[in-house]
C-alpha cells in the first residue's frame, strides 16, 4: 500500500470492511427472524397450558394465564430484538463516513433534514417508546377499548414495528451495496403481510407469519453462522 495512491489502498480496506459488515448484518437479521418467529408458538403453547391444565394443575394454568396476559413476554422479545439491532448501530455511521470520503461533490442542503428523519424513525428510537407505551397503558389501564378494537390496534402496532425493523435492515444493506434482497427476505415480507392481514380475521394466520420467519431465519443462520 505504501507506494500506491492512498485512495486505492483505502478502497481495498473498505471492501474488506464491507464484506465483514455484510456477514455480521446477515447473521443478526437471521437471528432476529428466528427469535421473532418463536413468539406466536410460545403464546399458543401458553394458551393451551392455561386451558388444558386449569383443572389438573391450577397453579401452572395461572402462571400461563399471567404470562399471556401481561406485557412481560412481549417486552422481553422487544428487548432481544432491540439488542440485536443495537449491535449493528455503528455500521451505518461508519458506512456514511466512508461514503462521505468517496463523495466528490459538496453535501446537499437537504441532507441534514433527511438524516434527522431517518434517525428519528429508526427502530432504535421507536422500540423503547413502544415498550414504554405498552407498559404504561397496560399498568394504568388507560385504554377503554373493546377487545376487537384493541386487537386491531395491537396488530397494526406490531405490523409497523416489524416493517420498521425490515426497513432498518434494508437501509443497512443498501448502504453496504454488496447484496440484493434475498429469497429469505421476500419470504419474511410475504409472511408478515399474509400473517397480519389474515390474522385480523383468523388468529391462525399468525402461524403463517411465524413459519415464514422461522424458515427465513434458519436459512440465513445456516449460511452465515
Amino acid at each position: 500500500m505504501n507506494d500506491q495512491d492512498p485512495l486505492s489502498g483505502f478502497h481495498e480496506s473498505e471492501s474488506i470492511a464491507r464484506k465483514a459488515y455484510f456477514r455480521l448484518a446477515r447473521k443478526n437479521i437471521g437471528i432476529t427472524y428466528l427469535v421473532v418467529s418463536t413468539y406466536v408458538p410460545l403464546i399458543y403453547v401458553l394458551s393451551i397450558i392455561y386451558l388444558d391444565f386449569s383443572k389438573s394443575s391450577p397453579f401452572l394454568s395461572q402462571i400461563a394465564w399471567e404470562l399471556t396476559h401481561s406485557p412481560f413476554i412481549y417486552i422481553t422479545y422487544m428487548l432481544i430484538v432491540s439488542i440485536l439491532i443495537y449491535r449493528l448501530k455503528k455500521i451505518p455511521l461508519v458506512l456514511e463516513r466512508i461514503q462521505e470520503i468517496k463523495k466528490t461533490e459538496p453535501p446537499k442542503r437537504t441532507r441534514k433534514v433527511s438524516r434527522l428523519l431517518t434517525s428519528s424513525f429508526s427502530p432504535l428510537t421507536y422500540l423503547p417508546t413502544v415498550i414504554y407505551l405498552v407498559v404504561a397503558l397496560t399498568l394504568l389501564n388507560v385504554l377503554p377499548l373493546n377487545k376487537e378494537l384493541s386487537n386491531i390496534i395491537g396488530n397494526i402496532v406490531n405490523l409497523s414495528i416489524l416493517i420498521l425493523i425490515l426497513l432498518y435492515f434494508h437501509k443497512i444493506f443498501s448502504q453496504l451495496n454488496v447484496d440484493k434482497p434475498r429469497v429469505e427476505d421476500f419470504i419474511a415480507i410475504a409472511g408478515v403481510m399474509i400473517g397480519f392481514i389474515g390474522g385480523i380475521f383468523n388468529p391462525y394466520f399468525f402461524f403463517v407469519f411465524s413459519f415464514s420467519w422461522m424458515i427465513a431465519g434458519l436459512s440465513i443462520v445456516r449460511k452465515f453462522w
Partner: protein
Amino acid sequence: MEVAEEFKELMQMMRSPVFSNSVRVGILLILLGVDRITFTDLLKSVDLSKSSLYSHLKVLQNSEMIIVKDVFTISRPRTMIQITPKGRTALQKYLELIEKYSKRDVT
C-alpha cells in the same frame, strides 16, 4: 501550506506498520463498526488464511490498536478482538486525512 502539511502527515501515517497495509486498515474499519468481533467471525469475513490473519492481528496488537483476549462463552472459549481508544483515535485521524486528500485530489 496547510494542505502540504496534511499530505505529509498522511504519508507519514501510511509508512507506519498499521496503516501501510490495507488488510490491517480493513480490520480496524470492521472494529470501528462493531467494537469487537470473534476471531472465527473475522476469519470468515476476510479472505485470509489463519496464520496470515494472526500475523496482521499481532502487528495491530503490538501497536496497541487492538486488544486480543480469550473469553469464555456458553458454548466454548473464544478469542475476542476489540479496538482500543488509541486505535479508534488513530483510525479517525487516518479517515480525516484520507477525506481531505480525496477532496483535494478532485479540485
